[in-house]
Assembly symmetry: C3
Homo-oligomer: 422 residues x 3
């Protein structure tokens, strides 16, 4: 018996997506297919993860020429490196000889890229500079590594797999004043966690876009965090007064804090922690004695930034935390979290890993469980899209507006798709 999945056709993908989009109801969670179907997942990859700017990690992961990191967007491995001129570059991690991956490590340092298979050798610029036994007629100039769009937004590295990358400068212009004082380029990664959630990537993002679930699930996070999404959030009393007070302090320091109008694309705002809390730690005390950049005031709450489709960030006075979401399958998603402190901070003296990372380690585990239970329920015959809270879940509504728009746009695109999907 030979029985297997057929290669899904572009028509089948588009029909499935068209039908599912028609089933959507404003203000309600998505129909079942969006969280479970292979066809919709394929559409997500093509319409979003192969078109949008995808967050890789903080630029401080590549401090020196020759440093590289590797990430994989579904089946596509990418190498991001700093070349000998200090320029960040990104390439498809696939040798031009027979396609082998060049790098198999998550990060490393190298002078040249040498394929482990037959030692074809590339400069950090991507140029092929050495082969053996390829004969005199072989023109190695025709076989450079294939480049991928890459940019650093004030220390946040993004890549884009599309032929023509969409705009990222609106985001850059908007967030730079907020995050530049935290000097992300002068940080170092001191802790990293990579977890796999058995849930669709959109459920992971939805989970991040509301704090409606915080009270019942995140005791560690709520030591510092207020279930507040906007400075004038109607749900709060005392916290609202905190915002007024802190706003004056931050104004006096020249630190912007008002919400940026990022539409459905991104969010950027500085919000205070609970009274007396300086950081996202179990005791609210700073995670590092050494403040970031040239900051001198520890009481800065956090700049909270997210951007579609796959990343969110906290910039505190003494620490930054970066979250990266990558789809592994219709029901499987990787979440990487990186914690950064001042590049000169000293472990054991300025910071302690357990103290610094505990809150988000616990919170991520809790969110993983929540997303997985959410996923299990959406698989049911009994699942029916339900109503979001306009008070507590408006950022999910924004996310879904963006998502549905992106999918509609993709359906309208004429002409040929990426080769791999045909």
């Amino acid at each position: 018996m030979i029985d297997t999945g057929a290669r899904i056709t572009m028509d089948a993908i588009k029909n499935a997506l068209r039908g599912a989009l028609d089933d959507c109801q404003d203000g309600y969670s998505l129909p079942q297919a969006f969280y479970n179907d292979d066809a919709i997942f394929m559409a997500d990859l093509q319409a979003i993860f192969q078109k949008e700017w995808i967050f890789v990690g903080p630029e401080c992961e590549l401090p020196n020429a020759g440093d590289y990191v590797m990430m994989t967007i579904y089946d596509t491995p990418i190498i991001v490196l700093r070349d000998h001129d200090g320029v960040i570059r990104a390439f498809h991690n696939s040798c031009r000889h027979r396609g082998s991956r060049l790098c198999d490590k998550t990060r490393g340092h190298t002078g040249r890229l040498v394929c482990p298979y037959h030692q074809w050798t590339y400069e950090l610029s991507g140029a092929l500079v050495s082969t053996r036994y390829m004969g005199d007629a072989f023109d190695q100039d025709k076989f450079p590594l294939k480049p991928v769009h890459v940019t650093s937004v004030e220390g946040l590295v993004y890549i884009c797999l599309a032929e023509t990358a969409p705009d990222i400068d609106t985001f850059r212009a908007a967030v730079t004043p907020y995050i530049k004082p935290h000097a992300p380029q002068r940080t170092k990664i001191v802790h990293e966690s990579v977890i796999v959630e058995e849930a669709n990537w959109k459920l992971v993002i939805e989970n991040n876009r509301e704090c409606y679930h915080c009270a019942g699930n995140h005791p560690e996070l709520l030591v510092s965090l207020v279930e507040m999404a906007l400075p004038n959030d109607a749900r709060f009393g005392d916290e609202f007064r905190i915002m007024e007070e802190k706003g004056k302090l931050w104004d006096s320091l020249g630190l912007p804090h008002a919400p940026v109008d990022g539409g459905t694309e991104f969010r950027c705002i500085r919000l205070p922690f609970r009274d007396g809390a300086y950081s996202m730690t179990m005791d609210g005390k700073p995670a590092s004695k050494k403040l970031l950049g040239d900051l001198i005031e520890p009481d800065l709450g956090s700049v909270r930034a997210f951007r579609i489709p796959n990343n969110w960030h906290h910039f505190l006075s003494e620490m930054t935390i970066h979250f990266r979401v990558l789809p592994l399958g219709p029901n499987k998603t990787e979440v990487r979290t990186t914690w950064c402190v001042h590049e000169d901070a000293v472990e054991g003296w300025d910071y302690d890993i357990e103290h610094l990372s505990r809150v988000w380690i616990e919170t991520n585990d809790q969110d993983k469980r929540l997303a997985e239970e959410n996923q299990r329920g959406t698989k049911s015959l009994g699942y029916e899209p339900g109503p979001y809270s306009e008070i507590s879940e408006f950022m999910i509504l924004n996310f879904l507006d963006w998502y549905r728009g992106a999918m509609e746009n993709w359906l309208r695109e004429p002409g040929r798709q990426l080769q791999a999907a045909e």
Copy 2:
């Protein structure tokens, strides 16, 4: 490379099933597709597991108001509970907010059902009684838990996912006189085993429907069991005399034993054990000193009942054993076995878990191996349906008559199918 299974269409499922049914030959095992194809498996779910009454477990698992159990029929999680009025109810285990599973435990006890995600709270009646931040316009009466049909047949709990449930009262009327004397509602579960067999659910059922394989495989079971399917089974000599003798004893006690005409839907009969054996134990001795209900005679053989599609039972004088089969995939099936004794029996005094469970633990393991080898062979290019023994395998022939009929009926059904399959 993006390459994945396409969403199977209802037409593709029906065509595959139509073709496979046309290949069937009376008296022969099913064509390969029935044991292996994804499309046929999808059809099985829709035509059978989403339409028929599915056995959940013994009612004694829910002794008190607020007790619940959770089971999953393929991807559909169901919660079955006893409400504050003592009524057994069943609901889809999916919150009406964003679909999260409400219960993640196999069993438990609760006063209300609270979703772990955002604490939407439901009464045991299914009514939504508490949310937060949903605004004044939100009408929580519109979002009760979705009910599922549920019934207890003299202590055996069944649910049905169909909109309109099929008849179960014929079964109820027929089996009640046989099992009522064993008072299943006054038992307690003292042991449970859940195993996963790498085999199609129909191969698991076929294995259960004949004892042709017993002699070569089940030494522990054959301490008590006779390879006999009917009181006048032509294969037996001495055992046939045992039946005559026991029949008189049971008549004198007012215990029915003749085979019930359940057609292809169910079977119910009381049959004796081997001479000298009182129970399905390694030594043939009773598994519990305390007899069930008000029984005073230990020598009752067992009432053997099965019902399509997923359950069979033994009711002995001092123990009941219940088997539940749930499909997990075309080649993967869960089998749960529960052992019950009188609710007042005392462990260590009246019964010993090892003594009580050993025979069926071993037998289940043996059947798992047999079903898996059967599965492996049916995957082969060399597999060709073979002839059943009309003497030893007539209950499989009945099962397949029922199965083929159910599938034919489903193909003939007009109009729309369950939402999830379209």
Copy 3:
């Protein structure tokens, strides 16, 4: 939510293959689909693994009547045995009753084949000779085991699942003079390794067809092996002189060594090891003190034979090594290696398992890693077929010529395909 892979149709398979073949470019690695698509994998099974002669193992694995081995070609289990007349036979390992596998062990010894399920019993000739309860009308002559083509090529056992087997006598005639002096039938298996590579079977074969990758990856192998494919290989100086010298020695012993013209079907040649090396061991010393057959000269290099689609071999003066490749999925392949020495050699005295097996254990592990990295790269959106070296990779070009031809032939075949694929 029910969502699964549809049963792939023959039309879909052929269309996918047709399209992929049209994308092929001479001299370049295959398009992505050939290494990743389910449809192409299905085509590979039907066009190649269900049609060609497939290597099972050395005949010395079946020394006595009643010895059997079991292998599985994808989902199809086959039993190969030596019957009471000493004849090697092969059968589908699926009982004619309900299809159960008869044998579940990789190898064993038996007088008859008894199905574990219901004890249907077959002679080693395949004849069904005993059943129970099948009734008087049952004609057991109609239910013999289904035979499969089998042959031994001078001690190498091959089977063929096709109705009509292709020619293997050209191969037999060509290789017999080379391998007969090594007397494979008078060897015994002393070590076996089975590894699973997460790579398409063609990448495993491509890896075997060139030594371009050896210098950078196989230090243990290069103790003995010269990166030389032909006696007059242009890449070598000293080694070329070794060939001249050894050629004279082998001529004097009557041992053929010139390359055989096997077209794209097979290769057979005797090549020397590095100066001073007698065997594929870490020190170059013989793996066994006892030479094979009636050989008296240890300095014989190795006869290197491969045959499409799934096997290659080394015949040394004191050891033979056999490699068998079986596809388990589009990205998963089993490689079995068996090491044989003279049947009278004594472990601990004549040979040591560690000394004998180390080089290829290490080399296989290295090749597994290379094939898996190659696989990962070919999955990428960035993968594009690249150019082979005509100097170092000409045997891959031969392999791909054969492969593409075999697939074109299969597409041209009229009429019905194997039952399982329809």
